[in-house]
């Protein structure tokens, strides 16, 4: 048996890294287990001439396509939106667009303001210092002063607008609609040991320059220097409990596939909105026959994805193509509820700068705008390097029938039951998506774009995995309390996106990490009576 630790963190991604770093100053013995390993930036796609081809295989955002030993399969056949993620030190921050909006203050009060879903048990003000701390730790670039977003103080200047930004900005100005340079975790200057962005052009499948913040190069070096222990290639099968109903540790498979038991005084789960319910549902016992921390029956339920309605077209002017970070601007014009639109809540818009030649050829051929035969070359030259895109990131409201369960057949490489997703796009979300596409078309037409195409939803767009172990003060209606502790198991905490009550209409990673830091801070303040 391994020596007991004070705190065991499961998952070394966005939230697990932040919690590990924050708790390190307690001087407790903290151990993190991750099913993947450390990344090697020399292996990243942009280091090779076949960089775009890798997106369709070894560097796909889909774990089912990628199929690395570190990945676990996901049965998402019964969902129009497929789960995407990355497994390894850094988690999905290794493989994300680095777009860095925060949830708005109003997002924490949706019941009060709009009569839907539930209010969060915490508010934006409680998170403000942790948003700021997280922005410093991750290294954020942006332009302070957006009139329609929460005030931020990015430590680095914004990305250049490049060629695509002004094209989009002029179109938005013509329509009189809000837009603003995005906050991103792309370093625009040398920052804390990270080199500045050199426009490798495809932030999503990992940044060989190290300009994009991922927690393997931001939080983890600090946490490890402060004494946190991180064991890689260790896949946790289940959380065990003792006769008092407290978590006693975890059973995991080590890098050699050998089953191990790791005792711990406190267990923190940081496995995202699919991995966390999967682990809890796999942790059954006589005392917890329906899975751990599941007396509410809500573990795995209320899955929220953020359906993406994407529309794009091609302008006469050259755009930035693959020679810039893909996201650079956002709009909050349609973020807040306006019932005259036919739906409640709203969506953010993130704009796309363009695409590389292989992606353009493949996507345009599939859409039927790039022909086979003699005319192929002429049309390709009109399309390639001229794309701009508009994506409405729609607030998904919690619905219990959207859920993560355990697949009765599918298992990972260690024989652990895999997650199964059952998800439908709600009528409200569908109306929101249609609205976003209609407004997106107006934007593209104002920019003079032609050959307009849509993806509704983006099928491999399940980046944001939220809501499946929700936070709340009522144990009958939530899985964890207002500071992340399980209602049922007093030494079990959850810190990832699964505890989101609602989803907002923006990329959630900034808020996930702020909430994780908030929970760590709450734990530190309550160390003397953490289990009361």
């Amino acid at each position: 048996m391994n020596d007991p630790v004070d705190v065991l963190i499961i998952g070394a991604g966005a939230s697990g890294a932040a919690v590990a770093w924050s708790l390190a100053d307690t001087r407790m013995h903290i151990l993190c287990l991750d099913q993947g390993g450390w990344m090697n930036s020399s292996d990243y796609p942009s280091t090779g001439r076949d960089w775009e081809a890798k997106f369709y295989g070894d560097w796909s955002t889909s774990p089912n396509i990628r199929g690395r030993p570190e990945d676990y399969p996901v049965n998402d056949d019964n969902s129009p939106i497929k789960v995407v993620n990355f497994n390894g030190v850094g988690g999905s921050t290794v493989m994300y667009t680095a777009h860095w909006p925060r949830l708005h203050p109003s997002d924490f009060k949706v019941r009060t303001l709009d009569g839907v879903a539930d209010d969060w048990p915490i508010d934006y003000d409680a998170l403000t210092p942790f948003f700021e701390e997280n922005d410093r730790m991750m290294g954020v670039s942006g332009l302070s002063g957006d009139p329609r977003s929460p005030l931020t103080h990015p430590p680095m200047p914004p990305q250049p607008l490049g060629l695509s930004g002004p094209v989009i900005g002029r179109a938005m100005n013509k329509l009189g609609w809000h837009w603003w340079p995005s906050d991103t975790t792309v370093a625009t200057m040398d920052y804390e040991g990270r080199a500045r962005c050199i426009n490798l052009g495809h932030c999503t499948p990992a940044c060989a320059q190290g300009a994009k913040a991922s927690t393997d190069i931001t939080y983890w070096p600090h946490a490890i220097r402060a004494g946190v222990e991180l064991k890689t290639h260790c896949r946790v099968r289940e959380i065990t409990t003792n006769e008092d109903g407290m978590a006693s540790g975890v059973i995991y498979y080590d890098k050699d596939g050998v089953e191990q038991f790791q005792p711990a005084e406190v267990v923190i789960i940081a496995c995202n909105g699919v991995g966390t319910p999967r682990l809890l549902l796999n942790s059954v016992s006589g005392r917890f026959p329906n899975g751990l921390a599941n007396s509410s029956g809500l573990v795995g339920k209320n899955l929220m994805f953020h359906p993406y309605a994407q529309i794009y077209g091609f302008v006469k002017e050259p755009t930035d193509s693959n020679r810039a970070p893909p996201t650079c601007l956002w709009s909050k014009e349609f973020y807040d509820t306006d019932l005259s639109r036919g739906f409640v809540r709203g969506y953010g818009i993130q704009f796309g700068r363009g695409a590389g030649p292989v992606f353009e050829a493949v996507a345009s051929e599939q859409k039927g705008i790039l022909p086979w035969g003699a005319d192929h070359h002429r049309v390709f030259r009109r399309l390639n390097g001229h794309r701009i895109g508009v994506s409405a990131i729609c607030e998904d409201l919690p619905e219990e029938h959207n859920r993560v369960t355990l697949d009765p057949v599918l298992k990972d490489g260690h024989g652990i039951p895999a997650p199964k997703i059952d998800y439908t796009i709600s009528e409200n979300s569908a109306r929101m998506m249609d609205h976003g596409l209609a407004r997106g078309r107006e934007i593209l037409e104002a920019a003079g774009a032609t050959d307009i195409c849509i993806n509704n939803p983006i099928p491999w767009g399940g980046w944001h995995l939220l809501g499946t172990a929700r936070m709340g003060t009522d144990p009958a209606r939530s899985v964890v309390n207002e500071w992340g502790r399980s209602h049922d198991v007093k030494n079990l905490f959850i810190v990832d996106g699964s505890i989101f009550v609602t989803s907002g209409g923006v990329n959630p990673t900034s808020t996930i990490q702020a909430v994780a830091l908030y929970i760590a801070d709450q734990m530190k303040q309550r160390l003397a009576n953490l289990f009361d």
């Binding site: 775009e52 934006y124 250049p160 900005g169 100005n173 603003w180 493949v362 086979w372 192929h376």
Partner: protein, 149 residues
């Protein structure tokens, strides 16, 4: 049926002929077709995890054509190709993607497009600042953030 890890000679012939239909050579743009030997060699060498899907697509193509694609007259070949793309599903899409991803990394093709013959890293690219005055009207707009209470 095809072996899981390689294409047979009939499949390779059909792949070459279909690739030429997708992207033919062009004197105007001074580019080879996707049936160019070097591009074909790249496809076969890097098929990897796509081999089974591509083989499945080529088997489907063979059923539609009834004989080697090259032996069909032009009109029949076009009709078969169209039917293949319509009815071939994910396997056909994979085959087309394999053709395009190898074609659009060929030096001659990239040169014709005015693109540099290199990986993005470590040199990267220069991104101009762009016209920031476009943002002035938004900067001048009043704050409008929905209150939480």
């Amino acid at each position: 049926m095809s072996a899981a890890n390689e294409l047979n000679s009939i499949q390779r012939d059909d792949l070459r002929n279909l690739a030429a239909m997708i992207v033919p050579a062009s004197d105007e743009y001074k580019v080879p077709g996707a049936d160019d030997p070097a591009i074909q060699a790249d496809m076969l060498a890097t098929l990897g995890r796509d081999t089974a899907q591509v083989a499945q697509a080529l088997d489907h193509l063979a059923r539609l054509a009834g004989k080697p694609l090259a032996s069909l007259d032009s009109a029949r070949r076009d009709a078969v190709a169209q039917e293949f793309r319509t009815s071939g599903g994910g396997a056909a899409a994979t085959l087309v993607r394999v053709v395009l991803q190898c074609y659009y990394r060929d030096d001659r093709v990239l040169r014709s497009l005015g693109l540099e013959l290199r990986a993005p890293f470590p040199q990267g690219y220069t991104l101009e600042q762009g016209d920031w005055s476009v943002l002035d009207p938004v900067k001048a707009s009043p704050p409008n953030l929905r209150r939480a209470t």
